[in-house]
Symmetry: C2
Subunit: 214 residues, 2 copies
Amino acid sequence: MDQQTSGETSADNTVPDIVVARLPIYLRALATMQAGGKQYTSSQEMADLLGISSAQIRKDLSHFGEFGKQGTGYSISELHGRLRHILNLEHDWNLIVIGAGHIGSAVASYSGFEHRGFRVAGIFDNDPRKVGLSLGQFQVIDIRDLAFFVKQNQVKLAMITVPAPYAQGVADQCVAAGIHGILNYAPVNLSVPDHVNVQNIDPVLHLQHMTYYL
Amino acid sequence: MDQQTSGETSADNTVPDIVVARLPIYLRALATMQAGGKQYTSSQEMADLLGISSAQIRKDLSHFGEFGKQGTGYSISELHGRLRHILNLEHDWNLIVIGAGHIGSAVASYSGFEHRGFRVAGIFDNDPRKVGLSLGQFQVIDIRDLAFFVKQNQVKLAMITVPAPYAQGVADQCVAAGIHGILNYAPVNLSVPDHVNVQNIDPVLHLQHMTYYL
DNA sequence: CAGTGTGAAAGTCTTCACAGCT
DNA sequence: AGCTGTGAAGACTTTCACACTG
């Protein structure tokens, strides 16, 4: 996500968006190391693991402070904590999924959000035949209740997993409801106000990128 | 995340990977326009639609030839065809999915591959309880048959949807079987030889990127 | 005119290489 | 010795702006 994808929202900060985009990658590597019982690492070790140069890792981190010790490297748990803080991940964020089709169902039952800062709070659809159905631990909610639910649960992030022709309309509803970040699985470009961040996931884009080299 | 180009694509061989990554985005927009019955477009119109500057679109396309007409813009169907050619999408590619869990199942039944150059040819798992089960139109295949299947069906692309701890092992098997491109859904960094292209999809990375701005 | 294709300029990002700390 | 943090250099990417064309 490469892909492709633009972030760039609120120009309030001096840290390049491309640097911010790498922090979660560092965080993920640190979490894995920590789970393995490791205590210290170095920019070089992370570089080997991630295929990013050590200089870049050091430079990226230097935007936020000095977290390492010369000669020793970085304390994994400390750096992990710092990144969690920088990325606002010290508390979980509620998440909603809109579209109870194949992708939406898979996403809603995806265990990968746990321990990484997110919690699926609800899943929505506009199809009366789906509303009320149980999907894993969730009951599909009518999309008409979206705005109420978002306010009630202080939801800031939504994942859009509806068919392409409906995605823009759903995005508009999200924005109106107060959503600030959209992870869009529909293969279309969404247009949203500046204060809303959109990230896109379209596997076909990645595949088509690879076929160029085949 | 970078590779040498194959074959003959009329223009020079040194197209930046970042440019290649945008071509599928252009292709997607053109397909949408074409489906809407439109005949011509301009770099400015595409720019508005995609949030990319018109100069960049023209510059990107200029790496591959001159496809537009001054005063008129681009013929949508011609440009669409050119991009399909450049991206090697004139014929469909067989695709395999490894991991018959939630994500794998969703991916295997995703209708979005059709008409965009790909066809899921098989889905694999190592769990004997899953092997043989029907998943949509597919029967789950034993991963031991991976290499045979890949050769038999000339598969070049694989999607890895197994749990993180298994992903590297599966990637190694893919490489050994002759896979050239991997779309990795597991939240780990895969290490593969230079001739294999890896693209990653981890929704949590996108979400964590957005929380920075919340 | 409207809109492309493109050198040149501007801007951004990455790498180098080393002083300085532990 | 080992490794960070960082200015400066280098590489890469985007934008500008305009000659040119249908």
